[in-house]
């Protein structure tokens, strides 16, 4: 097992805008939720943040397990270097998702989880990592699907929906590399809190708030 990591990060249009606005909100000393109607939206965002921390750490730790030539060759069955590059971009995107979610929480005046202690066992094979990625990406899709109807604030809905669609792309891509259909069913099913926390349980420990 390896030590978990907090996350500090980056990019992309909506995400960068959201982050900047979040920082501005904090600077304006408005980091105090003043209306109970934002509590549900903030709770949803913190729940998703937990998932993003796990996903980001999956790619960071997973890819760090495949740095030698022999280990990298294991990915030949999954497309080789281009796949590794894509997975690295997924890691960056998960970081950006986490940053955007934190920024939205701050704009609501609520307290975000700033880090979670996430650990993955060393992946013995590329196939192990891809199977784990497949499970976790699909868990993310079902989690986002479950929360969208709960959100009340339009800008939060937009932000979460824009991340949810990327989650689906990740799940489809990883699924195809694993020999699965990118769209195995005409409709996805949201999972309950217990199911999602059960799936995260082996990897995630305590989380810290700001």
């Amino acid at each position: 097992m390896r030590n978990g990591h907090s996350h500090t990060f980056s990019r992309r249009n909506f995400l960068r805008t959201a982050a900047a606005a979040g920082a501005a909100a904090v600077a304006a000393d408005s980091a105090s939720a003043q209306d109970p109607r934002v509590v549900l939206d903030a709770a949803v965002l913190n729940f998703l943040l937990r998932i993003e921390y796990v996903q980001a750490e999956l790619y960071r730790e997973g890819l760090s397990d495949f740095t030698t030539a022999a280990r990298i060759r294991q990915f030949d069955a999954f497309g080789g270097q281009p796949t590794l590059d894509t997975l690295r971009s997924f890691e960056e995107q998960e970081h950006a998702h986490a940053e955007a979610l934190r920024a939205l929480i701050l704009r609501l005046g609520a307290t975000p989880l700033v880090s979670c202690n996430v650990t993955f066992a060393r992946f013995a094979t590329a196939s192990d990592m891809m199977q784990t990625a497949f499970a976790i990406e699909n868990m993310g899709v079902s989690a986002y699907l479950g929360v969208v109807p709960l959100l009340r604030i339009p800008q939060v809905q937009t932000g979460v929906a824009s991340i949810a669609s990327v989650q689906s792309r990740h799940a489809a891509y990883v699924g195809m590399l694993n020999g699965q259909s990118p769209a195995p069913a005409p409709a996805d099913t949201p999972r309950s809190r217990e199911e999602i926390l059960g799936l995260l349980g082996p990897y995630i420990g305590t989380c810290a708030a700001l």
């Binding site: 003043q34 209306d35 109970p36 549900l40 709770a43 729940f47 479950g146 800008q155």
Partner: protein
């Protein structure tokens, strides 16, 4: 001068009409169960409370408290993210209503409006977000009392409450569209009358 006298006469007539003798006074205690409508979550949430009113002829003066549990909870929270939420109101009111002295009638409609305090609270299951607001609030509404005996009856009351305070003092654009909290409350309950006539 004539206008002033006319106004004074009209006021005197109104006072005479609305001010009954002490023998017409009633004191009413009215516990109720309620359903409160949250337009944001589009739910009717259960609750309860009680009113106490002094009536004298057509005049009604009283107070009311009400509690609605789960007010900020969504209809279906598959992720069970809200630990608890509620809204609590405590207010005084005044208004007019048909006096209970008419022995031939069992139905007594009324209308009142008032001012008081609205407490809103919601907290998440993670313990990260806990918001409590205490707002001044207006209310108005009306209903009907139906007395089955001289001292007992039932009441239906429909009342609108509205906070008089903005949701955010310096709103970020993300929450700028939030309106002041307002909701309808339907209360059904008993009437216990302590009348003097």
């Amino acid at each position: 001068m004539t206008t002033t006298m006319t106004r004074a006469a009209a006021l005197a007539l109104l006072i005479c009409t609305l001010t009954p003798s002490a023998a017409d006074a009633d004191f009413l205690v009215e516990p109720f169960i309620s359903w409160t409508r949250n337009k944001d979550t589009e739910r009717w949430v259960p609750g309860g409370g009680a009113s106490a009113e002094f009536t004298s002829g057509w005049l009604i003066v009283g107070g009311d408290f009400g509690y609605a549990s789960g007010f900020f909870d969504p209809e279906e929270d598959v992720l069970d993210l809200i630990a608890s939420s509620h809204v609590l109101t405590f207010s005084g009111h005044a208004g007019v209503g048909m006096p209970a002295r008419n022995d031939a009638s069992r139905y007594f409609p009324y209308f009142t409006a008032g001012f008081g305090w609205m407490r809103q609270d919601a907290r998440d299951r993670e313990g990260l977000v806990d918001v409590t607001r205490n707002d001044p609030a207006l209310n108005f509404g009306g209903g009907i009392r139906v007395l089955f005996t001289e001292y007992l009856g039932v009441r239906a009351d429909l009342r609108y409450f509205r906070s008089m305070r903005d949701p955010y003092e310096a709103p970020d654009p993300i929450v700028a569209d939030l309106e002041r909290v307002g909701f309808w409350r339907l209360g059904l309950g008993a009437v216990i009358r302590f009348g003097t006539n």
